[in-house]
Structure formats: C-alpha cells, structure tokens
Symmetry: C2
Subunit: 322 residues, 2 copies
C-alpha cells in the first residue's frame, strides 16, 4: 500500500487496520461500535495497559513496524499471563504523524494481530489519532479460568524460585545493536521480538504458584517488586542461571559480564514465580533460587548468592524501584 | 505540590497518582501488580479506548488539568453507557514531559477519579511514560447486567428517535472560547467538562432501545453511524430540538445559527437512541425524530425535516464518515 497516513485519512486508516483483524471466540463484538464486548466466563477480567513511544521504547531504524507490533502486544499479554490468566483480547490506541507511510501502522497491526494469535487473544477495538510522535497504547484483557490471580505478594520463606522463558537475550541484542552490529541474529531477534511463554502463566497458577511476575525491567528489579510486596528476601543462585555459550562470547567481545544481562536485562518477558518447596515443576521451568525471611529493613531484599548484585551501577537503582 | 515530573521521577509520580485512587467494589485488585482484576458478573465485559492529545483534544490555556481529566474519563465512560452497560473501571495511560509541573498530572488524576465516581467506576491501573507531548489514553470497562449490548445496527423503520443529555453546549462554548471570551459560563463550562447522562444508557437498554450511541462527533455525524449500520434513514425534527434562549443569543452575537451547534456540535456526550414506537420514555428523554426506510443509496441517510442539513459546509463531511 502506498501513500501517507495523512493522504489516506483517519477513517481510511481505521478501515485498513480493522481489515487485518480476525475473529476470535472471546471477542463477542469487535471494532465499529461505541465499545467492544469480550467474554469473561470467570466473572472477573484481568486488565493491563502500557504505552510505548518511538525513541524511548522502540526505534524505527532498529525494528520494523511489524516487530514493534509484536513487541507491544507481547509486553501487555505477558502481564496478563503473569497474573495466571489466559489472554483474551487487546485494545489499541495509536498516535500517528500525518506524513507516516500507511504501511507502518498496517504492518504494526499485522504484528499485533500475529502476537495476539500466539497468545490466543483477539483485537477487540481501538482508537487512531493524528499527532507528532508515534505512540502505541495497548490494553490487554484476560480470563482467570476460576483460579485466583497470582499477585506479587504471596511469596513465603521456604518457597522455591523458578523461571521459564528467556533472560538477558533482549539486553544482549540491545548491546549488539547499540554498537552498530546486526548479529548474532538470535539476540538481535530476541530484542526485536520477545517470545513470552504465555502458557506458563496459567500453568504456574494451576501448579500453586504463590507469587508471579513477568521479567520486563530485569530479573533483579522485578523480583524486587515481589520481595517488597511479599515482605521477603529472594536469593538468586547465579550458578543455576542459564548463560548460553554464545552470550558469553558476545559478553567477552564487548566487555560485559553476561550475567549482567541475565540478571538485569529486561524485555524478554520470561515468567518468574515462587512455588511451595515441594512443587514438581514441568521440564521447562528452571529453579534459580529461593525465598528467605526478610532481613529487617536491610536493602536490597534481592540478593545473588547471598550478596547484593553491585556490578555496573550497583543495586541502588533497583532498590529505589521497590 | 511543587516541582516537575522530571524531578519527582516516574515511581514518585505513580505513587502520587495511585494515592488519589479510592476503592470501588468492582475493582478487585487495583494498581501495583502486573495487571488489575475487575469484577464482570455478567460474564462479558464492555471495553472502549480513546487517546487525547494536547493541542488536538485539549488546550492547557482553556482547560485545567482537572477538567481535562473529567473530560477524558467522561468520553470513555459515555461509550460504555452508550452500549447499555454500567461503567465499572478505567485504566489510564499517560505521557508527560519531564518539565511539566507535577500538579498537572495529579490534578488530571483528581478529575479522572471524580468523573469515575459520578459514573460509579474505579481507576484500576495504568502506565506513566515520559515523552514530549501530553497524551492521555483511557480504556473504560463496563458490565452489561445480563442485558444484550445495544449496538448501532438495530434501528428499524418506524422506531422513534430520542435523546437525553446536552446537545450543542460544548460547541457553543468552544465558539465563545475561540473568539477570546470566557462567558457565558454555562457553555464554557459545558465545553470544559461534559456531563454525560451515564444512567440513561443502561436505562435505555432496559426500555428496549434498538440502537444507541453517545454524541461525541455531533448529532448528525453520530446518527450517520446508526443509519449506516442499521441500513435505515433517520429524520430529525428540527422543531423538537431544545435550543435554549441563551444559546440563541450567543448565536446571534457571533453570527452562527444555534441549530448548527445542536445538530453538529460534539463532545457533550448526550445519549441518543432509537426505540420501538410504542415505548413510554421517561421525562428526561426528548423525542426528536424517527427512523425511516433507507432511500436506496441516496446520501445522506440522516436528514433534518426530510432534507439534508447543508449549512456551514454541508453534509458531505458527515456522509463520508458513515
């Protein structure tokens, strides 16, 4: 498709975007009315919203519109999964400059749609507005399937800490890209397009997870929220973390300890959860630490092998986020 | 509160904003986790999203942050009511420049909160991001209370057309403001802070409304959506419209036919609906026209006293929106 958003006009763009949406069972009434209607068989709905800005959350020279769409949807759908819910639908708010080629928002929508398909969700509705800065606002909805939501506040001393999904891959890819390289491809791809293990969220809830979150800001940072909300300390066992050989190689090449990526890199949207110690976890979960009693008001409450993680800027940055 | 958003920081601002939220029954789990949990006793949720941009949708010299918050919440909550649903919760996405005084987003949140209270909804969660242009993205949710949603597609020839709420007040206020005046206050206030009749949406659904929408873009424009979706013509009886004497006075003073404001002015978020002809409407509803068979492909399908409304730019503008 040729032309700019301004040439096509707002109604034309909305038509192009809605044409890219396919029916899904949960979306009872899709775009085109005052509001959408989405099934919530559980009698509760889980809802999360995020805003992504060009320049701050994505760069058009690093990521295609399609990848931005996948990523924007993924980070919201992962929030739903991290509550133990099954994603059902998203709503999209989009600000686009008049001079933007129409292909950008349409490919963005393709990416959003495809990521929704992976998660089992549908695009229920949205709003498009012309403005100076590309802004993608996504609200994701999900269904708890008669289970209680798994919040950040249920971790108890003695619980084991486990993760599934990828850690540090996006950060390694970001480092590579920011130094002007385009490979190794696996990490660059991981930065452009995360693959959250959506199924793992509801599965963890069914297994009795006591607390859960997705890793959006970095493992230590996000566990900090669980430690703070639960009133516990969480100790990560560095040896149990998966540092792929290729990640070590890049780390060596660019002078970064790859453990730094694994412990502090965000945007992979791995799912990390605490479980009662006797929980039998499926193969794709990796036990990476344990929950301990809080050390009074001593910060941080997230440690690595019993000590604060102080490399590359230290832990204060994360502690202040709790 | 003194200082800028940049000085306070993102976490500090989120703390300030969430401190302004009060508990409501439908919000089972509010801000602070990966996602919120909202009650949906009906097993369906109604959801709508809108983006407001500074300069395009509001001006800081015309409206206070508090008023922008009321208006942003109102336009989304009205969408929920216009489906026949009871608003339950909203989620807020907010982009704020670093140099913006902290009082702006906190007063915005006060306005959002107060408007939610009027509608019976709660603030369930949100996201705050720093960026160049103030952007307010709101997603509103609602409950259908075991009634079918009232869409735009159910109007049938023979139905009566009725409205409740205000028409043309915001447009008259906008005209006054754009000519540098600050009064008459009633209209300026109406522009700054609409008062959608939220209760009327579910009430109309209970009365058997066949199609419904809120007037956000103008009566003729929004009825155009109903006419198009329902495959009917809608005729407005000009004589039945309420044109207050004070509105006529302003119209005379500024050289605008006040009927133009009533028929084409948006943002008051009146609720307009079609009903079977024998429906007994409560006192606050005003019958303003009727539904007729479509005139083949002759445009427009919304007429005023049987003829297209062609004043000030004509009807093509609206016809193209159908």
């Amino acid at each position: 498709m040729k032309g700019s958003v301004g040439e096509l006009g707002e109604f034309g763009l909305i038509r192009e975007l809605t044409a890219r949406i396919s029916d899904t069972p949960a979306v009872r009434l899709g775009p085109g009315d005052d509001a959408a209607v989405i099934a919530t068989p559980d009698r509760r709905v889980v809802a999360s919203t995020d805003i992504l800005l060009e320049g701050r959350h994505f760069r058009r020279d690093w990521s295609t519109a399609y990848d931005v769409g996948r990523k924007a949807a993924a980070q919201n759908l992962a929030d739903i999964a991290a509550m133990g819910a099954v994603p059902t639908a998203i709503l999209l708010g989009l600000v686009v400059p008049a001079e933007l080629p129409v292909t950008w928002p349409t490919e963005l929508m393709d990416g959003i749609h495809d990521e929704c398909q992976v998660a089992g969700a549908g695009v229920a509705g949205g709003d498009v507005v012309r403005g100076d800065a590309i802004t993608v606002s996504i609200t994701a909805l999900g269904d708890l399937r008669d289970r209680e939501p798994v919040t950040r506040s249920g971790a108890r001393p003695g619980d084991l800490l486990a993760v599934t999904g990828w850690l540090g891959w996006s950060a390694a890819g970001f480092t590579v890209l920011s130094r002007g390289f385009r490979s190794p491809r696996a990490f660059v791809e991981a930065h452009r397009r995360p693959e959250p293990p959506y199924h793992a969220g509801p599965a963890a809830a069914a297994l009795g997870a006591t607390a859960m979150t997705d890793v959006s800001d970095g493992l230590i940072a996000d566990l900090g929220h669980i430690a703070h909300s639960s009133g516990v300390r969480i100790d990560i066992h560095a040896e149990s973390l998966d540092v792929p050989a290729q990640m070590s190689d890049i780390g060596h090449a660019v002078g970064v300890d790859p453990l730094q990526w694994v412990l502090t890199g965000g945007e992979d949207h791995a799912i990390v959860a605490t479980f009662p110690a006797d929980t039998k976890l499926p193969a794709r979960w990796r036990v990476i630490g344990q929950v301990l009693p809080a050390r009074g008001s001593v910060r941080p409450q997230v440690t690595v092998d019993g000590a604060p993680w102080e490399r590359d800027g230290g832990w204060d940055h994360f502690g202040s986020g709790g």
